[in-house]
């Protein structure tokens, strides 16, 4: 497996905020992260990979929560492991959402501000809570919060000290679309301010909407890194398989065979049509036109191999 570097990252004016050099992490015989080298500068970067790929392990090593078995992890040149002072520069939102439920949102963020020994913890708390729009619910106990509210409050606690580096593990989990949009805007704003923001996700669209640069991690290895659009194109121009149910499967099969983007069609009495398309975009645009011209009603169109694992495994093979 080789790393696909699809574009050289834009030169960063300052030194790299987060630097991983040849980092591996293993537990006994199980290798969780394998020889990962990556450098993160200012701006938002997505850490993309299927579940179990090692994203959390990478993030936890960046956060000083885990010791790398081999290699070095530094933030602004400082090692993160066994080095608490480095937390003045790092904010962490872990995936595990445990909080003391008896604290109100305000108390939770204020405690964070105090533990960071900020000069004016109350002012910093107010600012952070405003930023995540949790002002209305700030005096309620956190055990009464929804998952999304808890997540936002944890983000407020993580950025109350205005860290240069913000690490978020699956920050969009459990958020409704409006909260998701707001969180995306927030991450954008943090990136534009010159902070280094890294968030992990197993959902392609999330990464697409938030970040220009992406690090793709598959089975513990860095599979690709660089510009998101280029990686996205690699992902979408691969062969796709669809199953289609229509009012006249046989007639549709004949018509589809004439379409350039279709590589093969299989007709099955029960399952309907199985279509292999060479180009995702062209095929999905062509299908409605063909159906319309042939007066066929398409009842169902299901991409058969859209699981992330298949996307990633294709990408890794590319």
């Amino acid at each position: 497996m080789t790393t696909t570097v699809v574009s050289t990252p834009a030169p960063v004016a300052t030194t790299a905020a987060v630097d991983l050099q040849g980092v591996s992490k293993w537990y006994g015989n199980v290798v969780a992260v394998n020889d990962v080298t990556m450098t993160l500068g200012a701006g938002v970067t997505g850490l993309l990979g299927p579940n179990g790929a090692g994203k959390t392990t990478v993030l936890h090593m960046m956060a000083g929560f885990l010791a790398p078995s081999r290699g070095t992890v530094t933030v602004h040149g400082q090692p993160t492991w066994r080095n608490p002072p480095v937390y003045s520069e790092i904010g962490i939102v872990s995936e595990r959402e445990a909080v003391h439920g008896f604290l109100t949102g305000w108390e939770f963020v204020l405690a964070s501000a105090k533990l960071h020994r900020l000069k004016d913890p109350a002012a910093a708390t107010r600012r952070a809570i405003d930023l995540v729009e949790m002002d209305d619910a700030k005096d309620r106990r956190m055990e009464t919060y929804s998952k999304g509210m808890r997540q936002r409050t944890r983000v407020a606690a993580a950025l109350v000290h205005e860290p240069a580096v913000l690490l978020l593990d699956e920050p969009f989990n459990g958020m409704d679309p409006r909260q998701r949009m707001h969180m995306m805007d927030l991450l954008h704003a943090m990136g534009n301010e010159g902070r280094t923001v890294l968030f992990s996700s197993h959902i392609l669209e999330e990464v697409e909407q938030v970040s220009g640069t992406v690090q793709v991690i598959v089975a513990g290895r860095l599979a690709a890194s660089g510009d998101f659009r280029t990686i996205r194109r690699l992902m979408t121009t691969r062969p796709h398989v669809f199953t289609i149910q229509s009012s006249d499967n046989r007639k549709l099969a004949v018509a589809l065979m004439a379409e350039d983007s279709v590589a093969g069609v299989e007709l099955d009495a029960k399952a309907g049509l199985t279509v292999r398309a060479g180009d995702y975009g062209r095929f999905t645009r062509a299908l409605p036109k063909i159906a319309l011209s042939q007066r066929i009603r398409v009842q169902r169109l299901i991409p058969a191999d859209e699981s992330l694992e298949s996307v990633f495994s294709y990408l890794v093979g590319a």
Partner: protein, 237 residues
């Protein structure tokens, strides 16, 4: 020491249902003492089972176990410790703050009933002796159990084995194990302070004090070092 950590630790401790476990044992001890006193029994006959066998061998270590593993072990279990770890705080500050809460809560929970039982059994001096012993025990046991929270995933179990098997069982048969028994230090100190003939220690005062210091300092330093290298495990990897 860190007041924020102290405040949150104390609130978390009192908010847990497990904390209610602390009430019946000391109450049982005081109740038993009052009962036998009212029945007119001679303190010489019941001081050993009530004060030593119940108070020092069960009430003190069990309360310290519940509290000592509660201040840190519970936060490790539910993952809330990560919030504190992600702060630029010396790890010694975190451990000492947690330890302070544990020792204070244990001492109050144990020493008040100890004093009452001492009064019922005979004298203010016995009460004071038990209180001093209880303070020493709270400090030593809590240091040990806080450290155990970081050394094992099952601190309550390991702590129970230490209290019941090492101190309780082996301490009765093998006198050599008494040198490594916090319970024996507590009895000796209570004995010396109270000058009561109702209790008598088995190890010398010098050994008791020196070994208590070794327990407290050793366990605390170990806990601080373990916390520096504490790995936060994610739900997925």
């Amino acid at each position: 020491m860190n007041t924020t950590i102290i405040a949150i630790t104390a609130r978390a401790l009192f908010g847990r249902r497990r904390f209610l476990l602390l009430i019946p044992l000391p109450a049982l001890m005081v109740g038993l003492a009052l009962l036998v006193r009212l029945l007119g029994a001679d303190p010489k006959d019941w001081a050993q089972p009530v004060i030593i066998a119940l108070g020092m061998a069960v009430v003190l270590p069990v309360v310290a176990l519940v509290v000592g593993t509660g201040v840190l072990g519970s936060e490790i279990d539910d993952g809330t410790l990560a919030h504190v770890l992600a702060k630029p705080l010396p790890r010694s500050e975190i451990i000492l703050s947690k330890l302070l809460v544990a020792v204070l809560v244990t001492a109050v929970t144990v020493c008040v009933p100890f004093f009452l039982v001492g009064l019922v059994a005979g004298s203010v001096s016995l009460g004071i002796g038990l209180v001093v012993g209880g303070l020493l025990g709270s400090l030593a046991y809590c240091s040990l159990f806080v450290a155990l929270s970081l050394l094992t995933r099952r601190p309550v179990l390991v702590g129970l084995v230490y209290v019941l098997v090492w101190e309780g069982l082996l301490g009765n048969f093998l006198s050599g194990t008494r040198v490594l028994s916090i319970q024996q230090y507590v009895i000796e100190v209570a004995d010396r302070v109270s000058r009561s003939d109702l209790i008598s220690g088995n190890v010398s005062l010098a050994v008791s004090l020196a070994m208590s210091f070794v327990f407290v300092a050793g366990a605390t330093l170990l806990a601080i070092d373990r916390l520096r290298s504490f790995s936060v495990v994610g739900e997925t990897s």
